[in-house]
């Protein structure tokens, strides 16, 4: 009886709220729309990622040391975001380039339309974080790539670390509201050596680590490499699974 009464009371409360604020103001989790994703553009990787791509409205981290495939993966996701597919509209893609070292050639080779790409050029990490926050506050919707930062290891400087922590806290609701796919490239100095104390590991919904397994050669010439991409963390998806991807340099 008490259970029935509680249910009735709940239903009447829901009805009152819906009458005042609309039926979308309160609803069960079952009625929520599925989370949108930006495909990575690589079928085997999409199969690994929750929902078939990088989640929109959340942060995804792709880490790796030199020539491990993390930039091509991010670039292909940007290209996919720009292109749109089927009923999905193409989106604005933007690269935050804090070290004036963006690799336009790799981006173009992976299918990113340079004529539609925006670059946010910052002077150092702190300004880059501030610019990204302003961008999200101004209503940016699309795919945002935070290019590799070499001074991540210098985060022992307390102020920079604090700025990053604050930015990550601020971005959560802003990203969710704008449905922006935020990809963060973390450059590792050597495989398996993740910068100590970096709060990205906690803030990211999806974390991928790329490690180069071997070079592909044709005679004496290096024509590409094979990387193992491991899904370290994924909210609402499989974890600790990996896939070997082949990248060609031509």
């Amino acid at each position: 009886m008490a259970e029935r009464e509680r249910k009735q009371r709940l239903e009447s409360t829901v009805a009152v709220i819906q009458a005042r604020w609309g039926t979308r103001a309160i609803r069960t989790a079952r009625d929520l729309p599925p989370r949108a994703v930006t495909p990575s553009g690589i079928v085997t990787l999409d199969a690994l990622l929750p929902g078939g791509g990088f989640p929109r409205g959340q942060l995804s981290e792709i880490a790796g040391c030199g020539t491990a495939g993390h930039l091509p993966i991010a670039a292909r996701a940007l290209a996919e975001a720009q292109r749109g597919q089927g009923q999905r509209q193409g989106q604005q893609a933007l690269v935050v380039d804090a070290e004036s070292a963006v690799d336009l050639e790799t981006l173009a080779r992976c299918g990113v339309r340079l004529d539609k790409l925006a670059l946010l050029r910052a002077r150092g990490l702190r300004q880059a974080l501030q610019m990204a926050s302003d961008l999200l506050r101004a209503g940016f919707t699309g795919a945002l790539l935070f290019d590799r930062l070499r001074d991540l290891y210098a985060l022992a400087d307390g102020a920079a670390l604090q700025a990053l922590e604050q930015a990550l806290r601020d971005w959560g609701p802003l990203l969710a509201r704008s449905e922006t796919t935020l990809l963060w490239l973390t450059e590792l100095s050597s495989p398996g050596l993740y910068p100590e104390g970096l709060p990205l590991a906690y803030a990211a919904s999806v974390r991928l680590v790329c490690e180069r397994e071997r070079w592909l050669t044709e005679g004496q010439r290096v024509i590409g490499y094979v990387s193992r991409v491991t899904l370290l963390k994924s909210r609402g998806g499989a974890q600790a699974q990996s896939v070997a991807l082949r990248f060609t340099l031509r």
Partner: protein, 338 residues
């Protein structure tokens, strides 16, 4: 592998009532999209998967579609039927007076292969380079590897490359109509315009929130008000909105509609209903009419805000030297201006 997806493209010559034609064609397909081309012809894209089952064969459906156009007052029409949107558009352009219905049954890449490159959306410079290399047909372009196309002719050429390979995955965006409404009863009869306007605005927002799918996927076309006066008389009025009613447009329209009643309704209103007539996405398809425009608008706002705060911070790459052999030299970074 043969793809089951089928799309029809109908090109109609001469002056005709587009809305009337759309209504006529809506009975023949689950999704009809109007996509008029630059030549001034009316162009309709129709979802045509499974029409062979219903009409016996695709040609029969094509004949019915052409007959519908004539019956609805349209001029001479051409129909193309293919696996992709681009294929259907090309087929419609190839159809002629003797054979007004061009049906592509073979794998699309093979059918497109002998056609000239000029039909693809390729940048002028890419087209010139392809000609210099002796590549003149879609088949020759489709045979090139993706990385080579991106590197040699720029990533903006990849769309054309994909279409030439029969990989155009753009869907037909159909529409259906649906009405949503929100109603409020007043405790005491209300006659003040400001109060009625505030109520109407809140009701419109509530109705918009009650749309069964994401409201950005809808295009609201009409808005109406129905009211009950304290004497028991019913008042009704309606107006037409554009595709993208922002808050200001909505408020302006509501005010105009309420002012129409000022002469008639000296008495107060006891009930007010706001209804919105919109376009519903076809089943399992997402209409993005509002979303695309909203994204563009947001991007303009972002550029404006960031441009004010960081004058040299937001850059874009522009094609500066089309003849440069290395891709990165072809582009130069420039300040992105609103």
């Amino acid at each position: 592998m043969e793809r089951s997806r089928r799309i029809g493209c109908l090109l109609v010559e001469g002056e005709a009532d587009g809305e009337r034609l759309w209504e006529a064609l809506a009975d023949l397909s689950p999704a009809v999209e109007r996509a008029d081309d630059s030549s001034g012809r009316l162009c309709f894209l129709l979802e045509a998967g499974g029409v062979a089952l219903r009409y016996g064969h695709e040609a029969a459906w094509g004949q019915v579609a052409l007959a519908e156009v004539t019956a609805a007052g349209g001029g001479p029409a051409r129909l193309g039927l293919a696996h992709t949107r681009f294929g259907a558009e090309v087929a419609a352009r190839l159809a002629n007076a003797e054979q007004p219905c061009e049906i592509v049954a073979a794998p699309e890449a093979r059918w497109l292969a002998p056609l000239p490159l000029e039909w693809l959306p390729l940048p002028g410079e890419a087209l010139r380079r392809l000609r210099v290399l002796g590549l003149l047909t879609m088949g020759q372009l489709a045979a090139l590897p993706q990385a080579a196309v991106a590197e040699q002719f720029g990533p903006e050429s990849l769309t054309g490359w994909r279409w030439a390979r029969g990989q155009d995955d753009r869907a037909v965006r159909g529409r259906r109509c649906q009405t949503v409404l929100a109603r409020q009863m007043f405790v005491a009869p209300e006659a003040r315009l400001e109060a009625l306007l505030a109520t109407a605005q809140r009701l419109a927002e509530r109705a918009l929130d009650d749309l069964p799918v994401d409201k950005r996927a809808w295009a609201i076309r009409q808005l109406g008000l129905v009211a009950l006066t304290e004497t028991g008389a019913q008042l009704a009025t309606e107006g037409r909105l554009g595709d993208t009613p922002g808050a200001e447009t909505m408020r302006g329209m509501l005010e105009r509609l309420l002012r129409r009643w000022q002469g008639q309704a000296e008495v107060g209103l006891v009930e007010l209903t706001v209804w919105l007539w919109g376009l519903e996405p076809a089943p399992s398809r997402q209409l993005s009419l509002l979303e695309a425009q909203e994204t563009d608008l947001r991007w303009r706002q972002v550029v404006e805000v960031l441009g004010r705060r960081y004058p040299d911070g937001l850059l874009r790459s522009v094609l500066a030297n089309p003849d440069a052999p290395i891709l990165t030299e072809r582009y130069a970074l420039q300040r992105w201006q609103a």
